[in-house]
Homo-oligomer: 408 residues x 2
């Protein structure tokens, strides 16, 4: 019979639920799963046997001893790290990181290499990516069959489906079909995501208590980006990914932004804006294409030593960020904010101005919002990228693989 529709639907959901519980819990006994999933022990037993047979889960090999209890000891189930692997690709200005995570989420390889996307053709870019991924896979002995997916974190906007890089400060090329490239080459599902969204996802994964329903991750780097969660769901553009917080208007006719407009938040709070302000350059000076993070550190030091221009540079950045946040807080009430990226190292210099703007804003209680700092954004981006790739594989795996039912 071909009845594979409604009934299997239930099974699919329960399989996925069990996988997710194990992913979240690390090592979980069947009984604990049953409780967490609100399923009967019988069902969990059946499904977990299936998942073990398919190689998705593994049962504890009888160590991890010293259990307190008296009766039959419970057997911990965990994700089989070797079931699948995912390739993570993090694109930054001038460099690319290739990483591999196993199915349990451990980073088993990470390889950065220089690549100036601005200076190469699309074809060259494509080939370089493929070569580097292939090399990393081979160096770690990952076969094509083991590759469950590729996840890419980028600066810039992608299409809604996460298949194309529409535009990015990293390159003058637009509408780059990166997912198609890699899916064709490696035969594994590939998705792009905005780096700020990945940071937000990583925070949500790492600390679901703190970063649950409503919060934003703001990346302070050369530009300014935001990943926004409202009511537990990530908010994206209607046509594209990412919320373009950095290009909301801060000041009409204000400083020149990388995007060509004037008065964007980024044009006051991005690295180049702080540097431009500190140098005393005119606000309509064309933004630098790249600023060494060390320069920002240097300006921050100057500010901490009392340099008035440096102090004012960061205050201006704080005001811009505050004004953008005030707008959002007016719209949807205040929420928790995490600042990430090397700019967060100078957040103490921006915070007074930012809080001042919030205090004077229309949103009640906006000045009270909790703010967290994560200076090193790379671990978060990798984390978020990995979570996304693995969740995708999990979803695939919810559909039962019939062929594994062959012999024994």
């Amino acid at each position: 019979m071909t009845m594979v529709l409604r009934s299997d639907d239930m099974r699919r959901r329960n399989r996925l639920r069990i996988i997710q519980i194990v992913r979240r819990g690390g090592t979980v006994s069947r009984g604990e799963i049953a409780q967490a999933a609100a399923l009967s022990p019988a069902t969990v037993s059946t499904i977990s046997a299936e998942l073990i047979a398919e190689g998705v889960l593994v049962a504890r090999s009888a160590e991890t001893g010293a259990l307190p209890g008296r009766g039959r000891p419970s057997v911990g189930l965990s994700l089989n790290p070797r079931f699948r692997h995912a390739v993570l690709l993090i694109l930054k200005i001038g460099e690319v990181h290739v990483a591999i995570v196993d199915y349990a989420g451990s980073l088993i390889a990470r390889q950065p290499f220089d690549l100036d996307m601005a200076g190469v053709s699309m074809e060259e870019f494509r080939r370089t990516l493929i070569t580097e991924i292939r090399q990393t896979l081979e160096a770690n002995g990952i076969s094509a069959a083991q590759l469950g997916g590729i996840s890419i974190g980028v600066q810039g906007t992608t299409d809604s489906a996460g298949l194309r890089l529409l535009r990015s400060p990293m390159t003058p090329h637009t509408n780059i079909p990166m997912a198609d490239w890699l899916e064709e080459e490696f035969g594994a599902p590939t998705r792009l995501a905005n780096d700020c969204d990945l940071i937000a996802r990583a925070l949500n994964w790492r600390d679901p208590e703190r970063y649950c329903d409503n919060f934003a991750a703001i990346l302070l780097a050369h530009g300014v980006g935001m990943g926004l969660f409202l009511r537990g769901r990530i908010i994206n553009g209607t046509q594209s990914s990412g919320t373009e917080f950095g290009h909301m208007l801060h000041q009409a006719g204000g400083a020149l932004c990388r995007c060509g407009a004037r008065g964007c938040i980024e044009a006051a709070a991005g690295d180049y804006a702080i540097l431009r302000h500190f140098r005393g350059d005119p606000p309509d000076l064309k933004p630098d294409r790249h600023v060494e993070p060390s320069e920002i550190v240097w300006i921050a030091d100057a500010a901490r030593n009392g340099d008035p221009l440096a102090i004012d540079s960061f205050a201006a950045a704080g005001r811009a960020l505050g004004s953008g946040l005030a707008g959002l807080f007016a719209l949807v009430d205040p929420f928790r904010v995490a600042f990430a990226g090397h700019g967060a190292a100078a957040f103490d210099l921006m915070e007074p101005a930012l809080r001042e703007v919030l205090r004077n804003s229309n949103a009640a209680a906006a000045q009270e919002i909790p703010i967290d700092l994560f200076v090193d954004d790379m671990p978060l981006i990798l984390d978020g990228c990995g979570i996304g790739a693995l969740a995708e594989i999990d979803a695939t795996q919810a559909d039962r693989v019939w062929e594994t039912m062959r012999n024994g």
Copy 2:
């Protein structure tokens, strides 16, 4: 056996799906339902028999003849209008509308009455509502058993759950537990919703093609509110309902708003703001508590006759609205906007300034957004309120009512 968990879950979903298909389609045959729901005819037959036995659906009583085909004629199923009724309560400044809809969505009664919420105590307010609702129910012969729910549309913000009116321009009272009042009194589930959200919901219901994933409804009246859909879901505040578009900052240190802050969008685009501007009153003059819509019409006529101050009043309003929209468009890409309320009758006077602001904004293609006008907001609010109440009843009805299985 008490096994009522997983298996029934599937049935519940399919019941709900069928009810929703009939609600959307009006009169639908079993075969059409099967196709729309991607269920087998057998399943639809079983479930619809159940629903008919429970009184949720009714089969066409064999008129509506003149079917073209040859074989057995299909039997149209439709919602049983008499299955349940819902009370709708629309609160406006100075007046309340009580309405009753039947289960099929027809408005079967509507009664406005004057009530100055600002001038009465909470207790008095409660009693008046209950009295009016009771009268309307009795006048239409609706028993308590037939009352499936109460839905309330309000200006102002409610809590996330839709149980309390947190604050509203209609009254100085705050945190009014309206849902508790009426649930206690009438024994029917009661929910509050912001009027702008209701307008957005109504548009989405009426024309799902046009108002589908991303759009906003902006209510132009004494104040300015917004109901926002992103990715097909309504966006609300993190602590409260409604997106407070009207209180986003338009101009730092600008005109005085009803909310006490300065420079809100509403303080330039609300009725009182237009009137204040036209009169030449200082922008920090305390806003009027009420402005007759006819005054706005009068000013609009003046503008159309060339009065420069009137023209400028509406231009200022258009600029404020444009600046708020530009901010949102920068954040999440441009989307379709519907303006509702009597202020929309003067939209032609605001549109040039609004489009001008968008044209100069950072959001690409923002000037191209389609804008629709709905001068009469009341039908939309009633519609949205009714849809919401009925959807709630549908969801309840998805759980099978066992007692109806008694005899025959």
